[in-house]
Symmetry: C2
Subunit: 195 residues, 2 copies
């Protein structure tokens, strides 16, 4: 067999990982246009030509860097009465927790001016957020609209707090966010408004 994949952190693999990590950092901070191949190379202490050698193009590098897994299926056991709080807590973990990477920041930072990033972001909400909302939405038929409303509040909060860094939103404590935004999400998911 040619299968000698296990246990081979070859130098190539480590270099590749370094490049990818540098790319994720810089794409998250400066966006697709703002982060150049040269920047990524410098940050990984490597030659720019290597970046192209390992990933064929900037687009492909971005595609590799912009993978997002919100791990929402972990919320499988859901309580309809506390879904709002559950969602906002998970949101804070994703954006500020130690485990989750900068995947969402990468997408959101570039989504306004890069159609690929925009499409990926729409995919995230269609494939990851929507199913969770649909599982508990009040008539499930409204799942699309409810998931859309949830997304509008959560993306807006992320924009203001992590990208735009609007001072009063940055200043909010986790408890304040949970207490204020939680009820909003709760109503969007299982509320009886609607027309």
């Amino acid at each position: 067999m040619i299968e000698n994949q296990p246990k081979k952190p070859s130098k190539s693999d480590r270099t590749r990982a370094q490049i990818l990590e540098a790319a994720r950092l810089l794409f998250a901070e400066h966006g697709y246009d703002g982060a150049s191949i040269r920047d990524v190379a410098a940050h990984a202490s490597i030659d720019p030509a290597m970046v192209i050698r390992y990933f064929r193009s900037k687009d492909e590098l971005f595609a590799r860097a912009a993978v997002v897994d919100l791990q929402l299926p972990a919320l499988r056991v859901i309580d309809r009465t506390t879904i709002g709080e559950t969602l906002i807590r998970r949101f804070l973990e994703i954006w500020e927790g130690p485990a989750s990477g900068p995947g969402m920041a990468i997408l959101l930072r570039s989504a306004t001016s890069n159609e690929f990033a925009a499409e990926k972001l729409r995919d995230v909400f269609g494939n990851q957020v929507r199913p969770v909302v649909a599982a508990v939405a009040d008539p499930a038929a409204d799942a699309d609209r409810r998931a859309g409303l949830v997304s509008s509040q959560l993306l807006g909060l992320a924009m203001c707090r992590y990208l735009l860094r609007l001072p009063p939103v940055v200043a909010l404590s986790h408890d304040e966010i949970i207490q204020n935004v939680g009820p909003t999400l709760q109503r969007y998911v299982v509320g009886e408004d609607v027309s």
Copy 2:
């Protein structure tokens, strides 16, 4: 007197206006990086050198294009019991009404990757949104936080509906938006939650 300003739509002025209009359109649609001087010139049926001649640089052109006046003082007569609905109705006018230009789209499109645009957007909320919220917030001392929460919902809605074009959010009718988002804003401005 050298004052012959009135009644002189000289060819220069018209050209200047054409350039500015083209710039506002393209900056709103493609963002700062995505809209080049050449694009703007082509769209205004003019030579690229003229763009630089009229506005000294791309940065200055962007600064001229990115002026925003939400005209919120027009809401001076405010009813605390309907402030949420008032705000969301004004939001829809700003983004979809015939009068308002693409100013907000210009800023929001570029704010994630352009520090100047980000600063201008923070200014808009500090100088235009915050005062309105402060005028009716419930303890007025919480005005900053309340205005921040309002901004998070409104910017998120704008992102999803007009920039990201998330299908379920695009599909929302004006009435659905008013009925669903209005109560959220109402609670953010005069609600009694908080910690």
